[in-house]
């Protein structure tokens, strides 16, 4: 059954890969690498930290931290504390509207018809009456935003997460989600259109703002992790896995308990006497 499902996912993935010729050899190699990793990892069980590549991951994490410290973090602070809130909100709305075709495609591939309808209506309403996505007027009309990506689509088709990966600049991921990111990027109609029209400034602005907007939203949580954890690498690894599991479940956020039985908090024998 599980095997059948992952074959189905591979079929879905294969259907999308030739969608566009890969111009960059580097990307093709990276993608092939992650696909191979997924293939090998699907066989392994998911116990413990699921991090066979820890030394490499830690090295990448170190570089990411440095880039974050000198570049992303200051930009995120300037964005969050320097720009008026309504402007940030409009930037965020516009970015999410541009990303919604990819969300819609993944809703459809997962067979989530209700959610696909919601995303479709959001895109339609916000792109027109919402002035090209500046305003999210679909949410008050009952079409609430949700996220979906190809990593989650693969997961619902039965593909395991594969080993934990820290991607250069992009941060915590795993083999499955790294492939998912590449596929989402490849099938993004907005990006394809902009590339065809040579809208380079638009592409750079969109990518840059997406990264800064996302990092700005993580300022408080990341500061918190850095202060309260002994090893931020391990804390982020654990949180990433839990968060993805919750997202894949499509339950209202927070509905997932990490697969830990409640009885794990019950201890029969009393603590040792002093």
């Amino acid at each position: 059954m599980g095997q059948e499902m992952s074959h189905r996912a591979a079929g879905i993935a294969a259907a999308f890969l030739p969608f566009r010729r890969w111009r960059k050899a580097g990307l093709r190699a990276a993608l092939l690498g992650t696909v191979l990793l997924t293939a090998t990892a699907c066989a392994s069980s998911d116990t413990g930290a699921n991090d066979p590549l820890e030394p490499v991951n830690r090295a990448v994490y170190g570089v990411n931290q440095a880039v974050d410290y000198v570049l992303l973090r200051p930009l995120a602070y300037a964005y969050r504390d320097g720009l008026p809130d309504p402007i940030q909100e409009r930037i965020g709305n516009t970015l999410r509207n541009l990303a919604s075709p990819v969300v819609l495609a993944n809703d459809l591939m997962q067979g989530e018809w209700d959610r696909a309808w919601t995303t479709f209506m959001r895109f339609l309403i916000n792109s027109t009456w919402g002035l090209a996505g500046l305003h999210d007027i679909a949410a008050p009309m009952g079409f609430k935003r949700h996220d979906e990506d190809f990593g989650q689509t693969l997961a619902t088709a039965g593909v395991g997460e594969g080993p934990y990966l820290v991607l250069p600049l992009l941060g915590p991921s795993n083999a499955r989600d790294a492939v998912g990111r590449a596929v989402d990027w490849a099938m993004d109609p907005v990006r394809i259109l902009a590339a065809a029209k040579n809208w380079d400034e638009f592409q750079w602005a969109r990518t840059g703002l997406t990264i800064v907007d996302a990092r700005a939203g993580l300022i408080d949580p990341i500061n918190e992790i850095e202060r309260s954890s002994l090893d931020t690498y391990v804390a982020l690894r654990s949180m990433y896995r839990q968060r993805r599991a919750a997202e894949i479940s499509n339950q209202p956020a927070g509905a997932y308990a990490g697969g830990v039985d409640g009885a794990s908090f019950d201890f029969q024998d009393p603590p040792k006497k002093q």
Binding site: D85, R227, Q242, G254, A257, V260, D261, G262, F267, P271
Partner: protein, 213 residues
């Protein structure tokens, strides 16, 4: 006459069994109502006595520690996060770990007291988690127009009522995250529970030093 009895007997049996089956969930429902009430009570007391109270930070911390001890099952949480290493530690180390881990949590939260600005917590749902557990789902408002956070409270039934054993924030369990972190640290053979205690002690001291007055 006999016909009538033959007809009514199964109906009565069905009725009785339906009523019996309603009896059990009804008892559980009362417990779930208590779980919901307790979470609302923790939130209300937290605002009234700690974050919203006009007292110095030291007093807030003292009161918060009291709330923590009353509503959270700290010994169980500490034991859960230590995992297998709990048994390797002697009684003194275990007791010290429970104490340090509680202080780490108290001071982690204490740094956020000053950010309180009237944000509200709303209980959105409650459900059973096995025989002796419950989940209470809440939405917590955030500062500056950020999206509200979903926080799920995991409760276990103890002899004298419900106790909180975990908070699951946007799908991320605090207990599981701490457990991953400590088990990674303890997988290094040079790190014993005693050494872990020292490391946590350093963290707590650092946070104490950064505390606003």
């Amino acid at each position: 006459m006999m016909r009538w009895i033959r007809w009514i007997a199964p109906v009565l049996m069905v009725l009785v069994s339906v009523m019996a089956s309603m009896q059990a969930p009804a008892a559980a429902a009362a417990d779930l109502e208590k779980a919901r009430a307790m979470v609302a009570e923790v939130a209300e007391q937290g605002v009234r006595e700690v974050v919203g109270a006009n007292v110095p930070q030291a007093e807030k911390i003292e009161r918060f520690r009291g709330l923590f001890d009353r509503y959270f099952d700290m010994p169980s949480i500490a034991r859960f996060v230590l995992g297998r290493s709990w048994k390797d530690a002697d009684a003194a180390q275990q007791a010290r770990f429970v104490e340090q881990f509680r202080e780490l949590n108290v001071y982690t939260w204490a740094r956020r007291f000053k950010d309180y600005n009237g944000q509200k917590l709303a209980v959105t749902g409650v459900q059973a988690d096995g025989d002796a557990g419950a989940y209470v789902d809440t939405m917590v408002e955030q500062t500056e127009g950020q999206k509200p956070l979903s926080v799920r409270w995991r409760l276990r039934m103890r002899e004298d009522g419900w106790r909180v054993v975990d908070l699951i924030v946007e799908g991320v369990s605090m207990a599981i995250t701490y457990r991953s972190e400590y088990s990674a640290a303890l997988s290094d053979p040079s790190v014993t529970v005693g050494r872990l205690n020292d490391l946590i002690r350093l963290q707590v001291d650092q946070m104490k030093a950064q505390q606003p007055s």
